[in-house]
Structure formats: C-alpha cells, structure tokens
Amino acid sequence: MSEKNYKLVKGLLLLFVGIWLCFTLFPLYWQIITAFKSPAETNLTVPTFWPTEWHPENFVSVFADPGNSKALLDSFIIATGNTLASLVLGTLAGYAFARFPKQAGGENMAFWILSNRMFPPVAILIPMFFLFDAMPWGTDSHLSLIILYLVFNMPLATWLMMVFFRDAPRELEEAAYLDGFTPLQAFWRVTLPLVLPGMVSVGILCWIFAWNEYLFANLFVGSAVRTFTIVIPTFTHGSQTLWNLQMAFSLIAMAPPVMLFIVLRRYMVRGLSLGVVKG
C-alpha cells in the first residue's frame, strides 16, 4: 500500500472511530452532566450542554432515603450469590460435559441447557412467580432472585466452562492420575487452575447480568428486598422526574461493574481469548 493510501485509510478509520465514539459516549456524557445539574436546569426547554452551576451534593441527596443504599447492598448480595452459584454449578457441569459427555447426557443435553438461555425471559415470568411464591422463602427475598437468575446464568456458565475444559489438555489430568491423585484431586489441583482465567470472565458476565436485571426483580422483590434497578424508576414522581438524582444514582450503580472490569480485565482478556489462540 502506498504512503498516500495508507494515510487515507488511517484517516477514514479515525473518522469512523470518532463518529462511533460520539454515538456511544454521548449518553454517558449526558448522564454525567445531568447528575451535577440542579433540578431546574434539567427541565429547561433548551438544554444546557455544560452545567451552569455544579451540584455535587446530588450524590449525597440520593441517599436521603436509607432504602437506596440498602438497595445497592441487596443488588450486590444477589449478584454475588448468583455468580458464585453459577460458577460452582457451571464449572462442575461444564467439566462433566467436556470430559464425560456420554455419562452427562451427550451433546443434546448440553444444547438443551444452552437453549434455556435463549428463550425470551418474559415467557416464564408468570409461572416462575407462582412457583417461587409457593416456596418457603417466597418471592421477596435474596434467595429467590439468586436461584431465579440461575435460569439464565447457569447455562452460560456451563457452556463456556465446557469450552474451557475441552481446551485444557487431558494428558495433564491423566498424568495426575498416574502420579497418584484421585480424579477429584486432579480436577482441583491441576485442571481448575488452568481454567481459572476463563472462570473469572464467566464470573464477570454472570455478575453483570444479575446486577443489571430489572424485569424479574421488579415483579419478584420490592419491600423486604429491593434491587437498585427497581429504585432508579422511583425518582419519577407523578408528573415530575428528578433527572439529576436519577442520573447520580445510576452513575453510582455503574461504578461496581466498571471497577470489577478494571481490576479483572487481565483475566477477562485471557479468559475470552482461551480457545481462540492456543499457547
């Protein structure tokens, strides 16, 4: 490619990336500036693109209702609980499908589990509500959502872990058997460390799904337990929406997944590229 063409292509690429970034970052920009505006400024007919007056106290006022901070905690408990459960079940099931496909029910069983992830969640909303209502822990509890979200997260975890285990060389386990380990010890000491990066990325995906879920949370919980997703709409009162507080609270709720991603991104990249490129 000639120097001129190279520059042209590079220019076009930058242009495209610039336009794309404008589209994707504009909502975030709007969210941030709105979070710092006064209620009056959020309701101007001609919007301001930069706050005339900064109101950082918005981030304090969102916690005027003590239920709001508890909602973040509830969401955290549910997301973390569900992630741990998904990882334990998904890892064991994925291992079984990868190493003992016949005994685990074969390819059809694995596909059936994956297909559970694919139907529209709203289709099971009502039946699940009655089912959980009949359970001793009821619908309005941490446990109900932790279990319910397994419907979506466990298939994902099982399927991805199965792929990671398939890529982990079998000889290592066989070597461990010959070295004197039981299958469980070999799994724990030899195989699991190999798929750990994969597990971390699966964990992040599960955690973000459970953290962000709104539809089921809205119907299932609400008084004893409230997730932050059902708190966000409560900033709309009758005819008026407190946009600044809603945006401030959303920003706070965005922080944990972003931090999680930053802390674990090294694993995430390794995990998602597992099976794509073999070392």
């Binding site: 000889e171 290592l172 066989e174 070597a175 058997y177 070295d179 004197g180 030899v190 460390p193």
Partner: protein, 400 residues
C-alpha cells in the same frame, strides 16, 4: 520391579460407526527389568495397549497382571506405574521443582524429604539450573527431561514412555537415547517404550514388539526381527531402506531348484538348506508353488566393485531375461547374482542407495558412497542365498 503379563487382551471402542477393534488378542510377557519397545505405524493399537497397561483405558477383555497380580480393575494410582507423555504433560502453573515434587506430595512425604529427592532427580536429569522456572519457558528437550524426572522420582514398578522423542530434533534425540539407556541400566526398572520410529526401538529395547492393525505381529530381539521376521509386514517395517520383495514361483529342473518371476526375467537361488522343503512345496498343487522372496538392500552388493563391467554380459545395455537367468545360473560355487538397470543413485553421505529395475521389478541396494554408476547403466548384484527370506504368498508368513 514387576513382570508384566498381557493375556488375550482386547480393546474395542464403541463408536457411532460401529465398533473399532483397536487391540486384538494381545499376548506379551515382559520380564522384570526388561526394556521392551512397542513399535508400529500410527493407528496400530500400540497406544491403546499402553493405556490399558497404565490403567487409563478399560480393558474390554483379557487380563493384565503385574507380578502375577491381576490389575484390570485397579485405578492408575494403585498400579505404581509412571508414564512420560508425548506432550510432556507438565503442569504449566507449577515450577519445575513443584512438578517434580507433585507425585511425592500426594504420597504424604514431608518437605525436607521431598526436597532431597527433587535435588537428586534434578542432578540425574541435569535440571538443577531450571528448578524454579515454569514449563512454558523451557525448551522441548528440557521439558522432556522434567517429564522423565517426574515419572522416575517416585520409584515406579513400571516405567512407560509414550512417543517421548517425537518432538525432539535429531541431536537431542541421540542425547536422550543415551540418557534413557543409562537410566535403564542404572535403575533396572521394567520399561515399556512406545514409538513408531524403528531406529529408537531397535537402539533402546532388549526386545521389540511389532504391532500392526491391532495385532501383535512379532516380539523379539532386534536380530530375530531382522533375520527372521515373522511375516511380510515385519520384514517390510524393520530395516532401512525397506526390504525388497519379489513375487516368485518355485521352478524345479531335475535337481536344480530356482525361484523365478512370472515372465522368467528374474531368478533367485534359495540356499541349499531349503531345497528339500521347497521341492516338497513345488510338488503340492495350487498356490504352494508361489512364494514371496525378500532380500534386504544391505544384503545386495555390486558384483565387481562398480558394476559397469557387467555391461559385457548384456551388450544391449538392458536387462533382458536371458542375461538375468544366465548370470545366476552360471555362478554356482560363488554367490549368485542379479543384473539390473540403475534408475536412481541417491548419495546419502556414508552410503548410497541404488534404485534398480529388472523388467517390471524395482528394488534397492545399499552400496558404498563412492559408487559412480549412472542412470541407465546395467550392473550385476551379488547376494548370499542365506540372506534370502521366503514368505507364503497367501498367508504372508515366513516359511524359511
């Protein structure tokens, strides 16, 4: 230390396309401290056999015993076997020292004892410098030495090596062959070595078991395999370059006995000791008259140094039937000869391989490297009838 006995061992894999019979009625006795190589082309069932011995694969039928104790139903860890894998199978997130110590850890050895054993093995396998590194940063040869060290460290009864040299370059291979030979002599362990490379098998093993198509073809010392191969497959598989085969039939003419190909253009003289047997076969009806004669390229040599002199025998320069039979008939007393035309003269450093043609029959001869014959030249080759191997054309089994 253990004697290994395999008795009528079968392995059948169920598959979507019907059953795959990977190992058929395998019988082998490996003496205590013996070094046996399982040799065969890929897919012949040697790896299945080995996996059944170590316990990674179920035995479909038959018995495997160590020192008379049946081990069919024992888990791998209960058999006290150690194995070095083709892919090395080192635990990538452990250091070399941890890799070596892993088998000891599970046996509950305390830290100082483990350390002592690791140091000793590291010294034997020349790994002292790299004990705190991790496997991915090592070269193939180093990884293989770690893998052998890990197998040796816990003093196994049986030591199994699966294609351990197939990823090493030629130099390392020679070093490794020497290491293994020395290890075997020093430790006196029963060793089974699986390979598709006859050079490795013949260089290392006390006895070589040749497998093909799920069947054990022959188990024997390198001399037995070389001199008296049980069948055509073994004769072909053992030896480099491959053995020459000639489809012949027995021709008797009074007291004279010869082997001749279908159009009579090529004749071979069997050794006198086989005459009675061959006469009997010739007297039988049907296929018994047809045999496969084989002679190794090493056993064919140029009759008068460089073979250009034989062009006097066939003035036209082509090997016709008359000159072929005349030569071998005329050379009673001394060794018989075959004439043939040179097709290719391959120079391979310390020797040359001649590819020759006589009528429709192509064959090879190993000659000194300075042989200056060219394509199209006619040469005479001489052989010792004692080196002629004869196989039944039907069963492909050795008859003499």
């Amino acid at each position: 230390m253990a004697r290994i006995t395999l008795k009528n061992v079968n392995k059948i894999y169920p598959s979507r396309f019907g059953e795959v019979h990977a190992v058929k009625d395998f019988n082998l006795d490996v003496a205590d401290g013996e070094f046996v190589a399982l040799l065969g082309p890929s897919g012949c069932g040697k790896t299945s056999t080995l996996r059944m011995i170590v316990g990674l694969e179920q035995i479909t039928s038959g018995d495997i015993s160590f020192d008379g104790r049946r081990v069919n139903d024992l888990e791998p860890r209960e058999r006290n076997v150690a194995m070095a894998f083709e892919t090395y199978a080192l635990y990538p997130n452990f250091t070399i020292a941890e890799n070596l110590g892993f088998p000891l850890e599970v046996r509950g050895l305390d830290e100082p004892t483990r350390k002592k054993k690791i140091d000793r093995i590291a010294q034997i396998m020349r790994l002292e410098q790299i004990l705190d590194q991790k496997p991915p940063s090592l070269s193939g040869g180093e990884q293989q030495r770690v893998s052998l060290g890990r197998a040796l460290i816990r003093d196994p009864d049986v030591f199994i090596l699966d294609e351990v040299m197939s990823h090493l370059d030629a130099n390392l291979k020679f070093q490794m062959l020497l290491d293994l030979k020395v290890l075997h002599r020093e430790l006196g362990r029963t060793m089974i070595y699986v390979t598709h490379d006859q050079m490795e098998a013949l260089a290392l093993a006390d006895r070589v078991a040749v497998m093909d198509h799920a069947l054990l073809q022959q188990a024997g010392t390198r001399n037995e395999l070389y001199r008296t191969p049980a069948n055509v497959f073994v004769a072909d598989f053992i030896g480099e370059p491959p053995t020459n085969f000639f489809e012949m039939s027995i021709k008797t003419n009074g007291s004279a006995l010869q082997l001749s190909n279908s159009d009579g253009s090529l004749t071979l003289s069997p050794p006198a000791s086989h005459h009675t047997m061959l006469t009997e076969r010739a007297a039988m009806n049907g296929m018994a008259k047809d045999v496969i004669a084989a002679i190794r390229p090493q056993h064919l040599s140029l009759a008068n140094g460089i073979g250009s002199t034989s062009s006097t025998g066939s003035a036209s320069g082509s090997a016709d039937s008359a000159s072929g039979s005349a030569d071998s008939a005329s050379s009673t007393g001394s060794n018989p000869t075959i004439t043939a035309q040179v097709q290719i003269n391959e120079y391979l450093g310390e020797r040359s391989i001649l590819t020759l043609k006589n009528g429709g029959q192509a064959f090879r001869a190993l000659v000194p490297p300075d042989t200056a014959t060219r394509k199209g030249e006619t040469v005479a080759l001489t052989y010792d009838p004692e080196n002629l191997m004869l196989f039944d054309k039907d069963t492909k089994q050795l008859i003499a």
